[in-house]
Chain length 83, copies 2
């Protein structure tokens, strides 16, 4: 079966988010004075073959450990696993 | 009031997703043969001041038009607006 796994990878709270700061600065200079903070992460969609949703989830967690997430400065959340 | 607006920005279906292709290739070379496709987008969290959630949503949609989204090749979805 093919599963569509969607996950969010984003900087840990204590980590300086330079891209986020840059975007916040640009928005302010465009006149969006209501902006207080911006944080930017990655939204990853994976199509993978697996026997069960749980196995698909576990595979993706391993992929996160191996490649997709820098655990020193990033966290991730799997938001959905859909057949 | 301060609202936390979360949105996803991702390449349109018909657009070649080079970062996604690169990650898929890396995962395959790490032995994850179950991977069929990978698409990578941005996960953006904005803290903004606004009187209402609806006004916060509209402000963010305008920010997307002005800066956050390249509408030629990208689409976006606002996934939540929380006080």
């Amino acid at each position: 079966m093919t599963f569509n796994v969607k996950l969010l990878v984003y900087p840990k709270e204590e980590v300086l988010d330079s891209p986020g700061k840059a975007v916040a600065g640009s928005l302010l200079s465009l006149g969006y004075s209501s902006v207080k903070n911006v944080r930017i992460g990655r939204y990853i969609q994976l199509l993978i073959n697996s026997d069960t949703a749980e196995e698909a989830r576990q595979q993706v967690e391993k992929m996160c450990d191996d490649l997709l997430v820098n655990s020193l400065i990033e966290e991730f959340t799997i938001i959905s696993v859909e057949a």
